[in-house]
Assembly symmetry: D2
Homo-oligomer: 353 residues x 4
């Protein structure tokens, strides 16, 4: 069946698989001490133009968020995030499992606002006695957000500046960063992110790898005994080569960038095609996820032919569904989608008629 | 350089890589809901002759131990393990991180003894008031152990019987299970393990997979909301297919068994060859890890030519090193090893002379 | 200085101190096994008309909430509470420290609404896949709430009924329960609470004891190894007699009730007197805490003469302050307060004049 | 019944109760901000001759150990303790509940040896790769130990010196410190302890208070947001006055010292009297706890007349029981004990005869 369900439904970019094949019989040390991991770390630091950065490879996104946030927070500190932030709603309480609270800020299409962040911090610190409260210890954002929206460079600068004012680290969840960097409407680059964030991760899983996320600490803020912390969380991969080789491949010959551009191309066509067919959008997303409002009937029909993600039930009985493209989407997939949508539209009209 | 450092220094068995290639462009649901994961679960249940089992795939061993043990223990309960058990010494405190104590039993070449287990439990329960103590909530063993030793079927039956008497689950860490099942001296089969343990895992990482461990609950003791627990630990892989396809391959056409037999063959030759060359063994291991005592000088020379694992500094200045073979070891690797050892021996004799 | 700062600024009711004196040299077993603790447990069960209840004594409120909630929740479960619930804002993250999330509901003057609770639960369970979410595992309410407001018996019945429908326990924080039971506007009794809640605690600290909270489990839902859990949380008092004697005294000759009625009398006069003097109230509280809006100048003057609690800075520069009465407030304290307020009012008028 | 069961079976020293009475109606701020707590902190700093110390009051011993150890340890760090240390065996896993491992050292009548501590640390740090292990983050000792034994000043100096060498804090559990300071055989003073330890606590519960332990940080190592940490652990007492007044009384007119001397006097007589009557001792204890070996029959008879603590079942059917004296023991209690013991001895002889 045709699938626009998510950006992790296929395996890996073929170049990655080839590289795994080619290196398969090499005997390499474990736990990230192999030469491919070392090379990948160097290439990522270059891509970020941040030679002093420290780079670690983990397996998945929720794991990465839990390990990094638990590592950056001190006792009694919580992490500030948008109410809709992934760590607050879709990680089964992984942050709280480490003993830390998620401190909610209002969200604006998935984003937090620098002004509201400053107000929150100001209000906390203006109270003299905090010993009954959770201290705001860091800020979490994702880029793109849960809703596919993007921070502008100036928005990021404002948030970063508030964090520095209050001396707390800014951390960016980049599970889908590739789709944020490549979009035509994005003015944020990897070096910008390295400059403005204290830590962030470059998602591999949703960017053509089998698995893997590359955490980058840009400002000498690597948590104490960090490799042991990764191990303690059960997140230190024995065959670290699996992560090293994949990221080394992604950051060789600009593969990561090319994948992103292809996906952005597909994303633009998806959005355009849905618009042309008169669908209404739940919100304006400039990235690879498009949120469309369907009636229950439309949704029931559609899902017989195309895998999409159920997103949300609206109060007026409308249903939000997500269409996602990825590095793996081809022009013919889109064409097949148009064919299905047009056919369903016709059937709908006939029935009504 | 020639490597006998561990059983996870190569990539994956070629059949696994081929299968990943072949299925790469299939669009599959995430988080283990794909058909390969489903198929692998069925094949594992069959191999265990345990149709009622529940099978889950995780990424790595420490992670698996933490998720399963945290899941099986109730409040104020700890896990009984050998003093040298992996969870007690080499997992960076991953069990304690989940809030549970490891309750130590004496070890006998890495193994616990049923009699000592019974005494421990009897002594705990004979005290009337336990409210100041950690309750023994389950038993952890590994097979093979940290020292490559094996439980006999009758030893396992005794331990299992004590666990049932005291109504606590028995859990087996099978990171290297493949090397335990295949050895000529082993009388324990997968169905035996499924019969005697409440939970165990079949290690993939050290058995020719890129990563992955298959957890098997045999007696309806799957922890509450277990998939969410896996997620909460950051251990739920988005592209679950990566684990499903690998285990499906391992359990197709008896590949897992064949890999094991090959490794057992190599292990036998390794042990034999070391014996013939007059090395003394730290202990008698029937599996793929051999622990040999060297002088400091011997060790220094050796490691210039062959990667081995430093294991332990003995009080009398002897050094224990580990030679490991695996699914990936070939006859020519052994021959290269003999050549090196013989040459070093000759040099040593000449110098002394 | 005159103090209306809180309901825990004095020591203990004199009858309690006398009883501690009288029993002081008796040699009694520790950890709550003494006869006074036993007697107190029986009296509390009688007062609740719940002979099957299990009663435990702990030292303080935050401790009690953490121990009970951690005990009642399973893995991956969170506790539903009002956004303004004490556990969500004023306990320094004690719940998250135990690994559990607080799931926020909207608040209505500190209370949650049964309808919104049902919607939340319905929405959670209508989604088929929860493995990425925190399961709603119990409901927390406080009575009176953080704002001194009260649930009516019918509101409690509705909430209780939703909890039973979804098979999750209802837990009431009764830190200030004494002020909730005694008020003229309250139609909720201890037996009602025992009938409608699965667990609750009767606060001692704010009801004339030096310290101590009595936890009551009414429906056979005592958590596993609960005394050990209390110990593990560092909450098992060695000299349990200190708690037993105090609660035994409170529940002898209806002392708890009498204290409550006296405080309610004082609370009524406080509210009346503030109203007569034209103060505006932040909200309508029927209990011992009254929330009054002052200008910054009024607050600065007032606090030179009377200790009150700063509660909240309003956006329009108004300041909410809390006046609290308690078991220890005497008629002459109120008279002294009126004198101060009248004098300040006069000064204010003159200055303006 | 006559009781030598423990040192916490009575209420409080009468001077403490009087002081609670006298101050009862004073209106004081909560959470330790009252003037009695402030005064007590000053007196303790003076008694320790450590003007730069920071003093905090907590309610009980297990709580204090958990809060302080959790506060002092970083991520992936564990606390080194004797195998028989209270935190390792009698606190229901309170340390592990905070996520940290207890790293066991051998015990010598309850004590650790500086040499073995150094070996442990040296061995840990001589290994180059610790990322799979728990880092030794601090050292826990108790004085007296679980077996009533004492460190000499020179032993403490050696342990302290190892800790400084390895830059980890030394923490002393002083639940029974009063009995350690007063004994004739002790050459360790409060100022010695303050000089040699980074943190320790002065037990109140077992020294004539109703409850309460005074934590002293001597070297600017107060954990981050420590009052909030206390709150988060549920250990911040609302009526902090209860702790402040008790410690202020204990440290006024040398009451703490006098209580200790009285108890030491009683302890000496207890030991002497048991010796004279021919009992054999499980070990040589110089403090208020004496461990005596009885036959099962002797124990059964004894416990009908005197409350003592069952300590341990020896393998040869002997039973270790503990007799404890305290601040509350009077000469007539000892005389009553001798009467009982002599009578039982006579009955025993007659039966055998």
């Amino acid at each position: 069946m045709l699938s626009f369900e998510s950006d992790y439904t296929e395996g890996a970019h073929e170049k990655i698989l080839e590289r795994l094949m080619d290196t398969n019989r090499e005997s390499l040390p474990g736990y990230g001490a192999d030469r491919y991991s070392e090379s990948a770390r160097e290439k990522i630091k270059n891509a970020c133009r941040c030679p002093g950065a420290a780079v670690y490879f983990l397996v998945g996104g929720t794991q990465t968020n839990a390990v990094v946030i638990d590592g950056l927070l001190g006792a009694c500190e919580g992490v500030i995030a948008a109410r809709t932030g992934h760590i607050n709603v879709h990680e089964a309480g992984a942050i709280e499992k480490t003993g830390h609270k998620v401190l909610e800020l209002p969200e604006h299409q998935g984003k937090i606002a620098a002004g509201e962040l400053r107000d929150f911090l100001k209000s906390f610190w203006s109270d003299e006695n905090h010993s009954h409260m959770v201290y705001p210890g860091m800020v979490y954002i994702s880029h793109p957000t849960e809703y596919g929206t993007l921070y502008s460079c100036s928005e990021l600068e404002d948030i970063s500046s508030v964090c520095r004012e209050y001396k707390i680290p800014l951390y960016m969840d980049g599970a889908r960063l590739i789709y944020g960097l490549a979009g035509a409407e994005s003015d944020v680059s990897l070096p910008d992110i390295a400059r403005l964030c204290d830590a962030f991760y470059i998602g591999g899983t949703k960017a053509g790898a089998l698995c893997g996320e590359a955490v980058v600490f840009t400002k000498d803020r690597v948590p104490l005994h960090f490799t042991a912390q990764i191990k303690q969380h059960g997140a230190l991969l024995a065959k670290g080569r699996l992560l090293g080789i994949q990221f080394d491949t992604l950051f060789t010959d600009r593969l990561y960038e090319k994948i992103g551009l292809h996906a952005a191309e597909m994303a633009g066509r998806l959005k355009e095609g849905l618009k042309e067919r008169g669908y209404s959008f739940y919100l304006e997303s400039p990235t690879n996820q498009q949120f469309v409002i369907l009636t229950k009937e439309q949704y029931e029909r559609l899902k017989k032919h195309v895998a999409v993600s159920f997103w949300e039930q609206l109060s007026d009985s409308g249903i939000v569904v997500r269409f996602a493209v990825s590095w793996a989407t081809r022009q013919e997939d889109l064409e097949a989608l148009w064919e299905v949508l047009d056919r369903l539209k016709m059937e709908e009209t006939q029935e009504v008629g």
